[in-house]
């Protein structure tokens, strides 16, 4: 029997066809892994009483209840934030790439991660919205905190297909224009684009007070150029081909890709955002941890 935390592994999560279940399993597995979550009970809305146990903060004792019952109870509160998060998913054709046969595509990984984040946010009563980016902003769902909103987001993500060329900048500019409220912008993309333009768009978002979390999603094969011998490499978006020897260019390729990633990291960091490179084989908890850390930092 699969234990909940095993769904953090993309290999396992991929077996779950329904995105809502996939998100549920990922988040549950993540929470089980967290045990005593430090994020619970951060709001001020009373939730329930529970018996005091040594180690609880004495400031949170309900002295009134003690006076009435001569027993020590701790007051717990339901989480309550005004966080609005936008999950922006790159749906360009390059995101439909999977290096190994049967492996999770970058888009599948991104949607699974976005669903998990949406599930997590919703379960914590945060408002969550969705943006689908390609050559432009294809879809933008305003953030809400409801079960229905989550269902809608998951439905959108489930129907998403990789298509079109990557052009993140126009989409991000559109998001910047339409999102007025200060929000947490989570971008899930391979960033295979003209990054200077992307960075300009991100700068615009940051200028508007949005917090940025960028997950660059890559396939292990494109990260390591995991192939040998003479190959003709074809760009799935533009159809451009390069005939070369994979063994011969691997080092130079890795160097160039790494330089690009570092450039992206530096650019996002300069905007005060968080940047993480995820491969489609990276466990989801790593992304979720980063996300929660960013959320905690902000709130």
């Amino acid at each position: 029997m699969v234990r909940p935390e095993q769904y953090l592994n993309p290999e396992i999560a991929r077996r779950v066809k329904r995105l809502d279940l996939k998100a549920k399993f990922i988040v549950e597995g993540f929470l089980v892994g967290l045990h005593d979550s430090p994020y619970r009970g951060l709001s001020l809305e009373f939730s329930e009483h529970r018996k005091y146990v040594p180690g609880d903060d004495p400031r949170r004792l309900d002295w009134t209840a003690w006076a009435k019952t001569d027993r020590l109870y701790i007051k717990t509160y339901q989480a309550e934030t005004n966080l609005a998060a936008y999950l922006l998913v790159d749906t360009s054709r390059s995101m439909g790439y999977a290096g190994a046969a049967g492996a999770m595509t970058k888009l599948e990984y991104a949607t699974a991660l976005a669903a998990a984040l949406g599930y997590l946010l919703t379960s914590q009563n945060d408002t969550v919205g969705l943006g689908l980016l390609g050559s432009d902003l294809h879809k933008l769902i305003s953030p809400r905190c409801s079960r229905r909103q989550l269902v809608r987001i998951l439905a959108e993500l489930a129907q998403t297909k990789a298509a079109g060329v990557t052009s993140l900048a126009p989409g991000l500019h559109a998001v910047a224009r339409r999102v007025k409220r200060r929000s947490l912008i989570v971008l899930l993309s391979d960033l295979v684009d003209e990054f200077s333009e992307v960075l300009e768009a991100l700068r615009r978002l940051a200028f508007r007070g949005h917090d940025l979390v960028v997950f660059q999603i890559l396939d292990p094969r494109e990260q390591n150029l995991d192939m040998t011998g003479p190959v003709v490499l074809k760009d799935p978006e533009t159809g451009a081909e390069v005939a070369t020897d994979a063994d011969h260019i691997r080092a130079e390729y890795a160097h160039r890709l790494d330089a690009f990633v570092q450039r992206c990291r530096r650019g996002v960091k300069e905007l005060g955002g968080d940047f993480a490179v995820m491969t489609t084989s990276t466990p989801f908890d790593r992304a979720l941890c980063r996300f929660l850390a960013e959320r905690k930092r902000r709130f």
Partner: protein, 650 residues
């Protein structure tokens, strides 16, 4: 560079395989989608030059691996910096001595060797310079076609061989010229008989800047043998004739056995059939001219030369010996002096005998000695200058000193003779020469070697001779020294303890006196008599067929047991060559191989004598190690260039 098996070079077609792989490999490249292709493109552009070089080097390495493999299988042979091969200069030394006429299974050795040469010529380029050197024939130079034409179906075999050493010496004469056209290859085709190998060894090849291939031609030979021929030359009513008989072994009823006699200058050889049970063949032949007459006897069984088949002989008139008799003891008016007795021993042979009187003896100068072979110095008094005689002896002359009277020779003369005279003693009962004491080479030619011949004279007076630098050659019966001889420079001196006069004994009155004088004179003039005929002719013989310009081609002086026969007087003098200088047809390829340890020299297996690969091969440098090293380097380069696929860890 040449190849032992050029047919393997067809394998170079396999070079097309890596070429095809290289060219088709690009088409075979897999198409792989990659979203980050722009980084790959950048990396490709940045490393394109190196990639091209790497591919070219890789292709070169793979081509080299195959090429080296094929070349190694083709058995490459190198000859150093300068190469020889089908187009290079070839010097073919073909032994055409009589032993090459021996046959085994239908073909003679000459025919086998000729076939090998023709096959070699067939593989040479039409313009290849070839030099053909044959026994007793002039050297032929030209194209393979010309050489082919110069090889007759059957050889004109000269009756006396030219040993291989001489053939090689002649070939060496042509080396400097041929070496300009490349490193020459000397091919020696011989039956490697005992005679052919005479004096042959590494020394012959030490200074030869050429590859050497020895091709021993073998084969079975008939088992027939000849003994030493016994012969005399005598004046008959029909003129001067040779009488010769020779022992024959191996004749039986199942085979026809024939003994042949050939004399130089006589066109047709004589043949004598030897029937079953017969053991001797007899010949007689007229002789012309004054000699020396040279000839050979050989035995043929079933139309093929038999093993140990030949005997050579030389008959010659004794060469004139110039004798100068110096009378230093007697006055002109004395009736008969000792010198007169000595001079009486030379009335006929040699005709050049000359006597000078005591008064003239002081006038004998170096010019007079220069026209003399042997000086007979009679008496201790006066005479020519000691220094002049000393130079005469050292230059190859001979001095025989005999006492004329009881006076002792003065010190300088004694020093010259290598003997010390310690007075004169008388032997009242008479002294005789010990018959066993004159086995000296001085008397080796003494007719018959009859010991009793010199035992006859009785001496009543003698000098007490004591050898100083010389040695006692002949003794009296009582042990006293009769003759002291010594070698001085290139000449010899002989001192006798007795003189010819009556005061010494009855020597001069006996017939042995003449024999003794002639024996001494002939023995002391070796360089100008029959021994000279048997010296090696250093230069290769190049003359026409017939009598050689030199008196003979046989090496070395005659040993004592050579079976030499001679007759004094006016009879021609005959010499039989020693047994070891006669032919033995047994091929001795092992001995041939042992004679050459030079790396350039290669002795081919007789069973593969006609394997042209062996003839053409030039294994001066062993290529195996070179190929192993080259192959290893190429494979290492290939491994380095191809590399192992690197899969970076995630």
């Amino acid at each position: 560079m040449t190849f032992g098996d050029r047919s393997v070079l067809v394998g170079l077609v396999a070079l097309a395989i890596p070429l095809a792989i290289h060219l088709l490999g690009r088409r075979r490249a897999r198409r792989v989608p990659l979203p980050t292709v722009r980084f790959a493109d950048g990396a490709h552009q940045a490393t394109r030059g190196r990639l091209w070089l790497k591919r070219a080097a890789l292709l070169g390495c793979r081509l080299a691996v195959i090429a080296l493999l094929v070349l190694a299988l083709a058995q490459p042979q190198t000859g150093g910096a300068r190469e020889s091969g089908p187009g290079g200069p070839w010097i073919i030394c073909l032994d055409t001595s009589p032993s090459m006429l021996a046959s085994g299974k239908g073909t003679t050795r000459y025919e086998q060797a000729r076939e090998a040469v023709l096959r070699l010529l067939a593989h040479l380029d039409g313009t290849s310079p070839v030099t053909l050197v044959r026994s007793g024939r002039e050297t032929v130079q030209g194209t393979p076609e010309r050489i082919r034409a110069a090889l007759p179906q059957k050889p004109t075999v000269w009756w006396h061989d030219e040993p291989l050493a001489s053939l090689i010496a002649r070939a060496a004469v042509n080396l400097p010229e041929t070496a300009r056209q490349g490193r020459p290859c000397l091919v020696l085709l011989t039956d490697a008989t005992d005679w052919a190998l005479r004096n042959l060894g590494p020394a012959q090849f030490k200074d030869l800047d050429a590859e050497v291939r020895l091709v021993p031609i073998g084969g079975e030979t008939r088992n027939g043998r000849l003994g030493l021929p016994r012969f005399t030359v005598a004046e008959t009513e029909e003129g001067r004739r040779l009488f010769l008989d020779v022992d024959v072994a191996g004749a039986d009823a199942s085979r026809s056995t024939t003994v042949h006699l050939a004399l130089v200058g006589q066109s047709r050889p004589q043949s004598v059939a030897v029937g079953p049970g017969e053991a001797r063949a007899k010949f007689t032949a007229p002789l012309e001219g004054t000699g020396p007459w040279q000839g050979r006897v050989w035995i043929v069984i079933d139309d093929a030369l038999a093993a140990d088949n030949e005997r050579f002989f030389t008959a010659a008139e004794p060469a004139p010996i110039r004798v100068l008799i110096v009378d230093a003891a007697h006055a002109e008016n004395e009736p008969v002096g000792a010198a007169d007795l000595v001079a009486a021993a030379f009335p006929g042979l040699p005709p050049a005998a000359k006597k000078v009187t005591r008064a003239q003896s002081d006038a004998v100068d170096e010019a007079a000695l220069g026209q003399t072979d042997v000086v007979l110095w009679i008496g201790p008094q006066a005479g020519p200058s000691f220094d002049a005689v000393e130079r005469f002896v050292r230059g190859g002359g001979a001095l025989i000193w005999l006492p004329a009277n009881a006076e002792e020779p003065e010190e300088k003369l004694a020093e010259l003779l290598g003997a010390e005279v310690d007075g004169v003693e008388t032997a009242a009962d008479g002294a005789t020469i010990n018959p066993g004491g004159y086995a000296s080479d001085l008397l080796a030619a003494f007719e018959g070697g009859a010991a009793a011949d010199l035992a006859g004279p009785v001496f009543t007076q003698r000098l007490v001779l004591k050898p100083r630098r010389g040695s006692a050659s002949i003794h009296f019966t009582d042990g006293r020294t009769a003759v002291v001889s010594q070698t001085r420079g290139r000449g010899r001196t002989v001192a006798l303890a007795v003189g010819p006069g009556k005061t010494w004994g009855n020597l001069a009155a006996r017939p042995e006196f003449v024999v003794l004088m002639h024996s001494l004179v002939e023995a002391l003039a070796p360089d100008r008599t029959y021994r000279a005929m048997n010296r090696v002719v250093g230069r290769p013989w190049r003359g026409q067929e017939g009598p050689a310009r030199g008196p003979g081609n046989y090496p070395g002086a005659l040993p004592a047991d050579s079976g030499a026969q001679g007759r004094l007087g006016r009879s021609p003098y005959s010499v039989n060559l020693p047994p070891e200088e006669t032919a033995d047809l047994t091929p001795q390829p092992n001995r041939l191989a042992a004679a050459f340890s030079d790396q350039r020299t290669r002795v081919l297996d007789p069973s593969q004598a006609f394997d042209l690969k062996g003839l053409m091969a030039h294994p001066a440098t062993n290529p195996a190690a070179w190929f192993v090293v080259a192959l290893t380097l190429v494979l290492a380069a290939e491994t380095f260039l191809a590399g192992r696929p690197r899969r970076p860890s995630p």
